[in-house]
Symmetry: C2
Subunit: 325 residues, 2 copies
DNA sequence: CAACATATGTCAACCGGTTAACATATGGGG
DNA sequence: CCCCATATGTTAACCGGTTGACATATGTTG
């Protein structure tokens, strides 16, 4: 690999001059600039970003921690984050926590050792305290840590509300909500809050199915739902906390001979592309993932630049009614 | 951020000694080791990996270039690559080429500037020549570049053969294959080779639908398939090059009132988790993604370590028969 | 002609580690 | 008592850029 010294020698100028060209600072004549660029070309030179990062104390790398990129929601999130990061000159170091606290912790340490400029946390397996300790810029996704750590979220309460109201409007008399663990104080729990509020207000009997501490296992979802629907065969409306869960629900209904949407209305969450791919297309509450991702990257950048940022960043959701309601 | 000097001072030893502890080299007494570790703990010290990378000329970062991680196949691939990389002490820098040649090229340059140890290329928008020029370790996914660049693939010919044979065995009389552009010399094209070979051998009429240069657009798939099936209503068997395409096919069939599998047999490819999630569950040719990913990481590692590696790494595929055939 | 903008060079320090070379000290084994 | 393994320190160079301080030279302008 050629170094800046090789370039300087080849172009017949000093190292300082090459650095000046590279960084566009100080006075440089067109002629010299051309000579330098030509030398770089000839040597196929590319500046060593590791050396630059060391000096600048800036790596232009963002660490992204997700539970697993194999999950469609996080895959889409990751794709968006990557796109915006790229557009702003950042690179993305991808970390899948696999919902394993120790892996997540190790990843956090690793990211710090590697001097990433900031971390976008979309996996939350650790105690809130652990996140508070972090000394580098962090933006969380859908979780409040402290009012020193900005977070990006969408209007979960409104999303839950719209979902239940749609179910009721479509005539459901007995409904259920399936969600992740409610022990963790995730913002997504507001969906359940809304679900209960509306159900109670309208005096509609309701059930809650809490999955274990964040599992993404299809089999588990199906089992839980099948148990629920056999025990409570009168349930005619399901609100699921993800589209994947909604697909599980559709499968179970098919198995139990319940027609969708005639016998059972189903509404998912996130509106991943999958939701409109399957048949019937899933009614879902859409989170503005693109905007949320863009905002996360922007927040990291603002933090790095030392700009003041808003702690709460809540974007609106949208109900996408399709064929399952 | 504390430095190694701060640690040395606090522990009352020299920088060299701290470095010795950190890297486990030379003689170190237990007492000193403890003192050093304690100082690190107290200072919350973590070695700066950027500085280390600079000196070692090793970043322990692998660049992964995929068309887009939002596509389930690449999302799963990415998840596996990440897991194996993590297990072996590597980090993953994620790059989505979005099938844009210039973005892919820029990413390659970026990865080089950032001194990644190697690149796993699962996106192939550039000319073969461009890849040959790369001076750093590269492993490609499903594409042959030259016999200096190892590649990981699965038995595409066999996969195509099994797919068509299953269709015929299930009684199809007129079949079609939908695939990406056949102009690029992708190894996946062997599936089409096999498709034609078998169809001709058995004298079954067949059709080919080539999508444009690698699009991942659902709408496009549906349009192409709908056109085909309205023009050739007698087609009763479809072999699709991905499970996403298979889902598009199912949608079109539903629209045209063709029952699956009675009126139309469908077989996808990859066996992403989606394939067994939707209803009816998709019959698909399974690529051993986990093994392929593991192998890719291992190959990069071997190349980095200067070990000899095999150029062709072809793993077996498996037919997963489900409900669409 | 003085003053200043433009253009380039030299030199050295710095970013935060790593390492080789060499010095020094201690304690145990033969 | 000598030799050697063990343990630690000192010093300096190095990885590949960046930057500030300062020197120098040329050309332009009022």
């Amino acid at each position: 690999m050629p170094t800046i010294r090789d370039v300087a020698e080849r172009a017949g100028v000093s190292v300082t001059t090459v650095s000046r060209v590279l960084n566009n600072r100080g006075y440089i004549s067109e002629a010299t600039r051309r000579k330098v660029y030509q030398a770089m070309e000839e040597l196929d030179y590319q500046p060593n970003e590791v050396a630059r990062s060391l000096f600048r104390k800036r790596s232009n790398i963002i660490g992204l921690i997700v539970p697993t990129v194999a999950h469609p929601f996080f895959a889409e999130l990751t794709a968006y984050v990557e796109a915006y990061a790229y557009a702003r000159g950042y690179k993305v170091l991808l970390c899948n926590s696999e919902l394993d606290a120790s892996k997540e912790q190790e990843y956090i340490w690793m990211l710090r050792r590697n001097q990433v400029d900031g971390i976008i946390m979309a996996s939350h397996t650790l105690e809130v305290e652990e996140y508070k300790k972090l000394s580098l810029p962090v933006v969380t996704f859908d979780r409040f840590i402290s009012n020193r750590i900005p977070y990006v979220t969408s209007d979960n309460y409104q999303g839950g509300k719209m979902a239940v109201e749609l179910l009721l409007q479509r005539g459901c008399r007995k409904i259920a909500h399936m969600c992740g663990s409610l022990d963790l104080d995730m913002l997504a729990n507001q969906r359940h809050r809304a679900f209960m509020d509306v159900a109670e207000e309208r005096q509609v009997p309701y059930f809650t199915v809490e999955t274990d501490i964040n599992v993404f296992e299809m089999g588990k979802y199906e089992k839980l739902l099948e148990d629920l629907l056999t025990q409570e065969p009168e349930i005619d409306g399901l609100f699921l906390n993800s589209d994947i869960m909604a697909i599980a629900a559709m499968k179970v209904c098919r198995k139990l001979g319940k027609r969708i949407p005639e016998d059972m209305k189903i509404i998912g969450y996130d509106d991943v592309s999958l939701a409109s791919l399957v048949s019937p297309q899933i009614t879902s509450v859409r989170q503005p993932l693109a905007e949320m991702s863009e905002l996360s990257v922007k927040l990291i950048e603002d933090l790095v630049e030392g700009r003041r940022v808003q702690v709460e960043n809540c974007l609106p959701v949208e109900l996408m009614e399709r064929e399952t309601t």
